[in-house]
């Protein structure tokens, strides 16, 4: 059961803003990439989940920004599964450059069907994600 995953991300020029920093909304794009990699790490594909009619919908986000990231910085994102139920997953994130913490965050995603309504994680997916 994989509980966390690490992902290297290089800050793109298009992601910076006039202050020269990675724009604060861009962090959430990275965190989403972390969620996808966490699935990949247990042999799941979010693209495949969607084709089967299961969607992650973010219902809650919190982020603390500690220090700015700049263009071309090579960042290390650690994504952790914090809590899993049959209707939601909580994740936490730490984004670092070298040993320095730039941001830490938490999110909740709900599972919904093609109609956008909450749905239960199928048993096989629940177990693949580490549910017991």
């Amino acid at each position: 059961m994989l509980e966390s995953c690490d992902l290297e991300i290089r800050v793109r020029y298009a992601e910076t803003d006039a202050m020269g920093y990675l724009h604060h909304a861009g962090y959430f794009v990275y965190f989403e990439m972390g969620r996808m990699e966490l699935l990949r790490g247990v042999g799941l594909s979010y693209a495949e989940m969607e084709r089967q009619g299961l969607f992650y919908v973010v219902t809650k986000l919190e982020c603390r920004y500690r220090a700015p990231a700049m263009f071309d910085d090579l960042l290390a994102l650690t994504t952790r599964k914090q809590r899993l139920t049959r209707v939601r997953v909580d994740h936490s994130y730490e984004l670092k450059r070298g040993g320095r913490l730039l941001a830490d965050a938490r999110s909740t995603v709900a599972l919904v069907g093609r109609d956008g309504r909450p749905t239960l994680l199928p048993e096989d997916l629940y177990q693949a994600l580490g549910g017991t």
Copy 2:
């Protein structure tokens, strides 16, 4: 028959880059907004078109950048329909600040169905868009 439309757009902070300019990819987001407004101007809704299974897919883009746009600039976008056939629409664009031309561009969009394959514009839509 509406052949062109004007749209005011204020440059967002998130759209700037470390150079302090509107990032060059952001212009195409504006041009797309122009295409949508051009439809709205003849009483059509692109959202509605998609619900009916008709999609614009960009097949070709060209843009000349003449001068930079900056954060908070209030820009004037003129979008023109240049050519309409039953399978594609060509548009041109001029983006200005005050009287100054910042960029001019051209695009081709093809009409495709839900399966991503080329489709013919239905007669009513073709006429609404000014086809004869």
Copy 3:
């Protein structure tokens, strides 16, 4: 003293994701627009603030997503100043479509100088923002 401001925002096609929703990171772009409009409402320009070497840096964000926004939705964003000190400003946000709440959020921005280090709001700016 203006304590809140309202802003209409139409969801752009480029802001949607494969689920057909406004991507969850896009909300923060809107909230930032709200902060800028709140300044404009008291006769201040964030662009001008930056030219004078004063920058807003987001240090904390929280958002609850209640219901999705879709392409072409016309949304109403209410931005409120919640707390002002000489080194930071707290804002809250409500994003609605019609009467329906889609998301509510809070943020903290710190004031920094050109060197990225915390700085005190100048007295005139502090008063213009409603400080007493």
Copy 4:
């Protein structure tokens, strides 16, 4: 003298649109990444160039879209330097998935100084980029 470089890019969820495709503006973000990698390949850093007051400004873009890219696709971008003078660089791009060409494009970037005015490539940079 490196004349081209290859870069693998995985399509992010946030880069897709309601059609389920990589949004057409997103391709230019990738092409810019290609330009940066081309510099890195000859031991140059665009971040360092900017610190020294030299900026790439895109003046012209053309792109043909041949087939859509989807979420999670692993794409191969080939960026080629087509022409180098002391005031501009022309690049071409091919974006593929497997052996299939999804898009091909060309761009011109001008070299400007911190003031946004055209500037000449310094001799050492000109040679590093392969100028003779």
